[in-house]
Symmetry: C2
Subunit: 249 residues, 2 copies
């Protein structure tokens, strides 16, 4: 398996066609994609290209945001944006606000982020409005330009319960099966049926994050070859645990 | 970054020297390790080589195991082994028993596993007694044999709260810094200081799992080159969140 950072991506500005920029970078300097490759794209450049941005100067915090912001020691306007992006607050303690994002991801700050936006000092980025659709449009652009089918993963870095540090996870997917099931297959000795399902889309997202350096815009796209991931049509929602089956809600 | 499965590893039996088997496989058929590579080894073959195995035929379930087993629909002797490996039960619901392993990992069944053991129908594997020490001994063997320093990660597949599917995580480490901090570095625009810490050892573990196929013994070892991970001396415990800071306990 190889993972190669695409080096030819310019700074992404709102309104840019990210699929076109990626195709250009794969043409020159390359590498060109091959059938079955997985292209992993940092969420931040998707959000910037699509204009999923909010200027805090235009935000007025409501009472819930004001209260939570005081508790967390954050800018009330920043918290207001977090709440607008969320279905519910899952945990709020110390300086940490963990919510269920409208797309179902449970993560800190609902994915709202100050860093690496570069539009203005008060402009924050949101998650893309429909990351699966963003992934599909990139997949289609690659198919049109190169005549090959690649899978596309949009990744972000999320913290996890129980473990320190954030890891890259898949928040948008096209053209691959995010979960590979081994359930019911006998093991090599025939003794035990396996019960595991592997979240390959998250493992691909994490592998790419090693090269992206936490989505620094210098290397926001990584081409992975030889991962052997089956194709599929389900989006990133397949990776979300049904709340009724989530023992940690 | 490249990740290459070592193909020359025979079936590992209890009492085998895993460091020697790995060195032999890197000699013939290779690939030979290079300075700075990361060698990721599936927990299962470490446990088998070190004899971290229990024959359920020799286990008698106590009252707590018997009660939990009835609730979870599991073999009481299997649950007895889980409890012996655990500090505490974190969640038990439906057929799932999640505990805090004596080493601090929060995972299903305390890492006790029926599959791919292949010693006998009732023999289950435990996590290695000291996975960091296992990693260090492999690192030393590679240094002696090839004169190069590699980092070593022992990986296992763990389920996660909130997300479906298991992913490879690091349960033992030697020679690398498991967490890379970006805290306090300005972003590329100078607007925001970053607050993130990246669990690179887990991302390496997940990348290797893509090739290991959930630790099927066919490809239990993966050599990763070019990940650019800093060296360090902390073990896998660095990845465990202090319970007082864990909002999901």
């Amino acid at each position: 398996m190889t993972a190669t950072a695409l080096t030819g991506i310019p700074e992404v500005r709102p309104g840019a066609s990210l699929p076109d920029l990626l195709v250009q970078a794969m043409r020159e300097p390359g590498p060109a994609p091959q059938e079955g490759d997985v292209l992993v794209i940092a969420q931040k450049i998707v959000s910037k290209a699509e204009g999923s941005l909010v200027d805090l100067g235009e935000v007025t915090a409501g009472p819930e945001a004001t209260r939570l912001a005081r508790q967390a020691g954050k800018d009330p306007r920043f918290v207001e944006v977090i709440l607008r992006e969320s279905k519910q607050v899952v945990r709020a303690h110390g300086g940490v606000i963990i919510t269920e994002h409208r797309l179902g991801f449970i993560c800190a700050n609902a994915g709202v982020d100050h860093s690496n936006v570069g539009i203005g000092p008060e402009v924050v980025s949101l998650l893309p409005s429909d990351p699966d659709a963003s992934a599909r449009s990139i997949r289609e652009a690659v198919r049109r330009a190169f005549g090959v089918s690649v899978a596309v993963v949009i990744n972000d870095s999320h913290g996890r319960p129980h473990r320190e540090g954030a890891v890259g996870v898949c928040i948008g997917a096209a053209g691959l099966e995010p979960l590979v099931s081994l359930v019911g297959r006998p093991d090599r000795y025939g003794y035990a049926m396996r019960t595991s399902v592997e979240a390959v889309a998250d493992e691909l997202a994490g592998a790419a994050t090693l090269l992206q350096g936490q989505c620094d815009e210098g290397t926001p796209a990584v081409l992975i070859r030889g991962a052997g991931v089956p194709s599929g049509e389900r989006g990133a929602a397949a990776l979300l645990r049904d709340p009724s089956r989530d023992l940690f809600r």
